[in-house]
Symmetry: C4
Subunit: 254 residues, 4 copies
């Protein structure tokens, strides 16, 4: 496998396409928002990305078949042509983050890339009823434009990982970029914050999306998580202890 392998399923003709990133991050806010978006828009998967810069593991799916961890790119043609990026993980090392972000930009440039939105959460440690949407952009004009949509700008702070790098590296290539961050506690999966971000994004893009499923999904998700989390963490703990054990065992026994 190359360092980053992108399998192209289809080569859509897109014009002035907008890349929207929703990889896992704080509160899963970005991922939930983009997942809902691509489900509701019936966006079409056109590329899959595998890489040794992602964790070395596979997932077992409901039907017993496996899935190698990956990132996926979907497109949607409408008022604006969209490229939607979703994935199981972000890059595992700082360097992986750079390499994957650059490759995603390289790939998106084949489809008339014009602008980049990255979606995420801003963890405050507080539970809020009406999460605000914070912003950061590649230029002052965009700041002023987004303020009209209620996006809050306050100086200071950093944006880690793909949500930061895609617009940071994109800016170096000359693309406008915006990061929208939903206010969130930080330690729970937060569909409410995702909803707030998506409401703002759809207003900016002037696209209509039915939001009812997003809140339902949030409730389902939280219930399921409580059940499976204990099982998974138990299994990982066992794997680690075993790894330690193996290291301490001399070769002639193994």
């Amino acid at each position: 496998m190359d360092d980053v392998e992108i399998r192209v399923i289809e080569r859509p003709e897109l014009k002035d396409s907008i890349l929207i990133e929703g990889l896992p991050g704080i509160g899963l806010v970005g991922k939930l928002a983009v997942k809902h978006m691509l489900d509701e828009l019936k966006a079409k998967k056109f590329a899959e990305l595998n890489s040794p810069h992602l964790p070395p593991q596979i997932f077992i799916q409901k039907d017993g078949t496996i899935k190698l961890v990956n990132m996926e790119l979907y497109y949607w043609k409408g008022k604006h042509d969209l490229i939607l990026l979703i994935g199981d993980f972000q890059g595992i090392t700082p360097r992986s983050q750079y390499i994957l972000s650059e490759k995603i930009l390289d790939f998106s440039e084949n489809f008339n890339l014009k602008k980049i939105f990255t979606l995420g959460g801003l963890g405050t440690g507080n539970m809020v009823k009406r999460p605000r949407v914070f912003g950061a952009t590649t230029n002052k004009k965009l700041v002023n434009e987004l303020k009209k949509y209620g996006v809050v700008f306050r100086g200071g702070g950093a944006i880690f990982g793909a949500a930061g790098l895609l617009i940071g590296l994109g800016m170096k290539r000359g693309y406008d970029g915006v990061c929208l961050m939903g206010e969130t506690h930080g330690q729970i999966i937060d569909a409410k914050a995702a909803e707030a971000v998506l409401n703002t994004l759809t207003k900016i893009l002037d696209i209509k999306i039915d939001m009812t499923k997003l809140e339902n999904k949030a409730k389902e998700t939280e219930e399921q998580i409580n059940k499976v989390q204990r099982m998974i963490s138990e299994q990982e703990k066992a794997a680690k202890m075993q790894e330690k054990f193996i290291k301490e065992t001399p070769s002639y026994i193994r």
Copy 2:
């Protein structure tokens, strides 16, 4: 040394060969199963793999001679032609895991590879009298086929390391793949789980293997481990403290 160096001892003519992975992992289940298999089948070593993606160490063998840590490939010609993979360690970093798995697939493809089985343990934290064998496969047809052999499929969870990657990356190359996981506690070397996995595998492959030595080996192993484990861990601890100590010592003393 190249990143991965495979020394080929012999180039057997195999047809529709089946790769069976038994690297160290949870409960040493996969390794114990494949080790027993290659001993009983009198499989022949045909290749050795060394790599900087394995730990930087050597083992001292019973007779005082050394062995650089490695992976080894054995073959067996019979009802099915088998390639058996065993080793001292898995790759040390996430990236190492990908690189080694790809190289093992590259190499196996020289011998008419048809299918991949990876063997491992599924840690549950419980001691069970009759360990179940859990499965994950590259397609739904295989799921149905394996259910006939009593393999249990339950959605969810992940498979880490070579046992996951070999079938995940193999699937991308178009190969059928199966992971069989013996139910195990997770923190002990578990020959019982290895036996359960091997019983299932030999039924699937329709190969006869005498199992008596596997249980005996398990008992021996556990006794030996108690003796040597303390010595080894003492030595590693000493090495680490010393490393720390050296770092804090100025150069003119050393």
Copy 3:
């Protein structure tokens, strides 16, 4: 992006230029000193360095726009021609440190590099009223020369990161090098130590710089830090907990 990408804004003609390093380190001593220096000298930015060897993040600036983390090079033509190096971070891995230091030396050699000064702090765990300036140099002649300026030399100890490597690797290329270290507590941002270092440096270089703003900046800085530090650390903590959380969540939920 290449491993290290230097965007050149201007190619000044410099003669016998002196590279002065002020990357973040103990007490921010070097960074504060070089920052004050380039502000007061109205030095001109002539190059920016980006790299996957820096952390994968962007900063949100006061006006809501973003900045990809980087290093910056300024020049000043005067009694001595100076190249001033400042940055958001040092390289993230040991290897990154070597790669970035070599690239900075490669780049500086295009501008008639003659000598290298690196500035830093020497943490003693004590608060002192009159911080001393400790030194280390690439040859004995420089040691004797610097003693005249009150620089203290005591054998032993190590210099970590860019402050050490730039003169260590520079020495291998044949350049004279000096590291000046301001005595500092080690756990606070210390403008006093920066002032001491800068006083010594300007005497050595025979350059006049107004120092009043440096102490004022130190006071401001400390106040601001108390405010924002809690917010930032809260956010980072949240990000880490979330990361852990995501890893333990099975794929079909995400």
Copy 4:
């Protein structure tokens, strides 16, 4: 800098040369032994090795001048021609260990390499009056030969780092190799164990070396260490806390 840079000072004509490794490790046993050996034999430095696979730091020497951390190769022509390897550190990552060991073998092969001895300590957690010398070799014939010199062989265990890799990788190149390990506590610098190893080695090589300075050095060393260790560790601790602090500080302050 290349990945590994070897500066050759002199190209001696050696015949059937024996490489003797004494890099820092458990109890500093190997380093103390080789250091004493090259001092007493008045061996001549003929090459220096620098690499990003060593820690990114410099040492401040007694006279205030600096030294980039390195490894050094000395030669001695006598009953046997010797190549003596000493250094400030071993490689910092597992991969670094492999890369450095391979390069040292590549280099040594230019000087008619015939055999490899690696020296180290075997930590037992006990203080002993008469440390034994344990061995591991690349073939059974060497085991029998070394037993005549009182070297103890007991199966099991592993040898970590350069002491293991140099003979493990050397064996793959066809060279005879021996690791001699002095019995040591593991957490103290142990000149007694170094003396035991050196006594055995000089008997094997049939070389006479005055041992009186080795014990004296051990006493000096321990006294000096108590003094400087506290200072150094204080400084490192400060550096780390500061690093953490910097990461949490927003960009506009820095």
